[in-house]
Amino acid sequence: MIHSLFLVNASGDIFLEKHWKSVVSRSVCDYFFEALERATEPENVPPVIPTPHHYLINVLRHRIYFVAVIQSEVPPLFVIEFLHRVVDTFQDYFGVCTEAAIKDNVVVVYELLEEMLDNGFPLATESNILKELIKPPTILRTVVNTITGSTNVGEQLPTGQLSVVPWRRTGVKYTNNEAYFDVIEEIDAIIDKSGSTITAEIQGVIDACVKLTGMPDLTLSFMNPRLLDDVSFHPCVRFKRWEAERILSFIPPDGNFRLLSYHVSSQNLVAIPVYVKHNISFREGSSQGRFELTLGPKQTMGKAVESVLVSSQLPRGVLNANLNPSQGTYTFDPVTKLLSWDVGKINPQKLPSLKGSMSLQAGASKPDENPTINIQFKIQQLAISGLKVNRLDMYGEKYKPFKGIKYMTKAGKFQVRT
């Protein structure tokens, strides 16, 4: 299946390679570099590149290309999904997944890759099992290791791989038993020129951080499970129970994991929490353009809209922008033509606005494309779909855990066309 893996940084250097079968020369990556050159944007490299003898499947994460070399037929999603899992694991281990972090921890990286694939077939991809096999590096451990000469590799043999619940390691112990669940919803929307919604949908996830001793068995129920239209589960969730009773019943993995991701049925009208008034115009003949933008809250269920960030790709003809924000700061990059405005919190009494003029290239004709405005925001303590967790029960263990639920709404791909 997966023959080799090359890690390529943004400047096009291979900085790590790993082979699971016989060695493939790194010259195979030349085909990849060709495709990279052809692509105008870094994300436009085709994920699958055929070469005479191999196929290259790559993913781009954190400005690193993970290029897998394949020799024969394999479902491409299989490889892509695995590569993403590798990145997630690195992130889990090192906090960030950057070239520097990988280079610093090259031994751990190598050990991880060795455990994750055997002969090109995934072996252990659950982070719980991996952590049992290879301890994640911490500052403390690094210090201790250098002094005592001990290692990151787990001393005891991993039993997780053998268990019927492979996602949970055995013998977990905590003094404070806690289980936190974050319900995070993202609104994907396209708003047209006149402010009406073209498409809007809500995608949600429940991320969990469970630190419970032993083998707890949890059930989580919702006040309004019918809202959830399409769901995908962590493998720990008992599917039949969900089908029959709409209850999430599961033995949780230890630590952080994504319990559920869901889609709120499209029949429900999606509340759009912000509105944008805009007036971006260029006059024919003059080298000036006008730019006006006002944000306001709407349908926020009384919650504050925070961390608002507006960005827009201005037409290529724009040389500079001279704008005046009523709050926050804005930046305009004359090279990439990217305008971004960090608004912060929206005060309903005093709506934030950004006004001013843009200067165009002298003599250039009026650009005929309209910039789209991308908006990011956060609303704490609100799940915009109205989803509510009803109860969390624990069975199988005797202690009383501390439990918490947090709700948050974020903008996903939220675009306003002008």
Binding site: K21, Q71, P75, I80, N224, E245, Q381, K388, Y407
Partner: protein, 975 residues
Amino acid sequence: DSPKNKNSMIARGKNASDLFPAVVKNVACKNIEVKKLVYVYLVRYAEEQQDLALLSISTFQRGLKDPNQLIRASALRVLSSIRVTIIVPIMMLAIKEAASDMSPYVRKTAAHAIPKLHSLDPEQKDQLIEVIEKLLADKTTLVAGSVVMAFEEVCPDRIDLIHKNYRKLCNLLIDVEEWGQVVIINMLTRYARTQFLNPNVNESLLEENSEKAFYASDDEEEEDKKAEPATLAKRKPYVMDPDHRLLLRNTKPLLQSRNAAVVMAVAQLYFHLAPKAEVGIIAKALVRLMRSHSEVQYVVLQNVATMSIKRRGMFEPYLKSFYIRSTDPTQIKVLKLEVLTNLANETNISTILREFQTYIKSMDKDFVAASIQAIGRCATNIGEVRDTCLNGLVQLLSNRDELVVAESVVVIKKLLQMQPEQHSDIIKHMAKLIDNIQVPMARASILWLIGEYCEHVPKIAPDVLRKMAKSFTNEEDIVKLQIINLAAKLYLTNSKQSKLLTQYVLNLAKYDQNYDIRDRARFIRQLIVPTDKSGALSKYAKKLFLALKPAPVLESPFKDRDHFQLGSLSHLLNAKAAGYQELPNWPESAPDPSVRNVEVITLLERVTTLTSIPDWSKCSSRKDRKEKKVEKPFYSDSEGESGPTESADSGNCGGGKEKKEEAGQDQSKEASRGECREVEQSSSAEDRKRGRKAVKNQKSASESESESESSESEEESEEESEEESESDTNVRKKKTPVLKQPPKQSKKESKKETQEMSLLDLDDYEPAPASASVTPVNFLSSSLVSDLEGLSLTDTILAPTTLAPSGSIKMYELLHRIKGEGLAVEYCFSRQPFSPEPNMVAVQIQFTNNTNSETKNLHIEDPRLQSGMRIREFAEIDVLAAGESVTVVMGIDFCDSTQAANFQLCTHTRKFFVSIQPPVGELMTPAFLTENDFKKEQGERTSALSRFNTHSCPSDCSFSSKHLSFFSFYVAVSL
């Protein structure tokens, strides 16, 4: 040098092979990390330094015999990874041994080793297939994925090996790890294609028949007549093989997997195997995947594009999910356009075109070009919008961006070809454009158009040719060819004006560098210019050049891609990848299904571990739900009848009820109404505990009523719409088990009332036999329990609230017949007051002697209790005769905790350790209240918990709430 350094050298791709001997020595090192790193090094360089690698083999051979399964597995893993041909026999032996290892993990490793050995030495194939066959029969989920992977790599054509394991694999599938699932599903798709009949066979036969009728020629007809009965016979109603159904059923839940590859695998399985009506379910899951990383999106969209051609209806509801955002990478945008175009039909075309209009204004020019093409395709496919599209495209001709104009020209050319007569002004407009447009493809398109329709623009065409002749030498090849074409066509239609020009162009072309152009020029000159030698062909020159050309069909590049298995690499590339296994066609007639029969169909134990519901969750809710359906008509009946008395009732719901019940039979239904309201209230108590501190008592009943009803399940609220004032969105399913009880209960009660009123009369109350009097209590406690579920986080097993139709109390087992050597002991919480000690809970214990001899001196000894807990033993039972059973009552003070009471149960011969652990719902103090007391109490209590008292039952229960606690963290989390 530490091995770490060496490995970082490997990682960077440097050659560290000269250190090999030094490293291999470390293979026996005790330190696990060093050992592992040495393994990595060894595997990497063994191929280059075979002799030295052999030094390490003995270490692994020793490892293979280790008592620890994990060490055995890792030894096999490394051993099989060393690519040295000399050790093939050793590997073979090791794999064979490991394949029959006790530990499934070692067997899994063996399965992994098979493809390694196969790639090292393909001659071992036959032996390896034997091992695969053996491992395929393995019943553990751990092995299944790996062995199927080995099967796919070594012998994918040996489909016969799967027969016996087919059903097992289907059943195991859901518990196999995700990567294994993908491999198994893909393999099973192929398998099913060879073993089952096409579920859409009837439809495809219909098509076939009509085709046949169309093409049937005279001599074939006779054959056809013979064939017809045969086809008709085949058209007998299609019955799906149960095994085929099994596969579809067992893969369906995997659409909910978090792993995109698994979802895609199931999607392709459904696409290739499911009946048309069922394929639709995959659309939702695929649309969900579009939220994922852009690489995943890319692959999914490719597959959606293929599917949407065949099954357009499937994705139509999700049209908007394919709308394009300016932040999408170009390749995603183009694919989304493709899907949108495929989905376009008469009904949605206007929305799609409006969407396309915004895309044309995008900054991404490649994408704009693709959008224009998409518009062109919509216009050709849907006749109604052709003119609108054409007008829109013509407007684009004045766009400032040349690429946009060029693309529009190309598309307009294709559109015009369909109906050139009406659009000569567009052709004129385009002729003018030739001065400005530089893109060769666009220029060529314009020239072709002018040439083709030179009769529509007789004045302009020669002029264009004149201009082109001037610039001929500087044009691109593709343009030059079209200039020659134009010249030839003009020569034929308008030779007077263009004869010289044509000659000139042909002369220029004669000396062109490109042989194609020289060739074309020579050919055309011979054909059109009349010479004495010119043959018969030149007569037909006009016909040749100006023949009516069929309009081009703008087709999706994804058409017919589905002959590749979807989701495969080959499908993505639209070319056969190495090692691609063709998806076989459906067989004509089904192969013998009995090959899949296994002698003993054993249900796999492992399957249950994940999918089954744990014991404590087996609450009766499902059963109840069914019951509810049955009861519903009755319920709604009572609803209707009790309508007029409603207001009176609601005024004093709980308390007033008893009075009314006494009043007689005709009101019994009314009573039932009241009772069910109470339940509603108790369930509304649950709402309150979520932090709403609503003060509620019976006096404000009208208020509480609306509150309680608003929290009812939907069915309920429909029926009660008459009085429904507000509807809360918080519809909770949870409550249905509570709510469904009343009708049944009241039915029973009303019956009883006819016979024996004393049952409900408080003053006459006597401890009645449990089976009879317990009924109402039981009902109460069931609702209590379900309420309590909401209130307390219990560590214990909640009382399964089984409410069997007979109304009997759940019996718990204290001592099993076998364990107790013939003595079976069961207990239940009779929910009666324990007269000697009011603080104690009455536990009714039933002894049954299943032995052939008497059991003597049954008594309790040596109770071990938590501090504070007390026990009141039952009187010793002297003799229990064989086959007899006896019931006694004992009291336990559980101190409001759910700690178990442990004690020994002694007979004359033996002692048994037993324990009684109370479910929370059983910890009740029965209390007797007169009606007035009850009302008083009710008025006093305002807390949520006091609500439980509103149950008017013979033995009113107050609930000790000491151990119930709840808190809210960030936002109400109810425990």
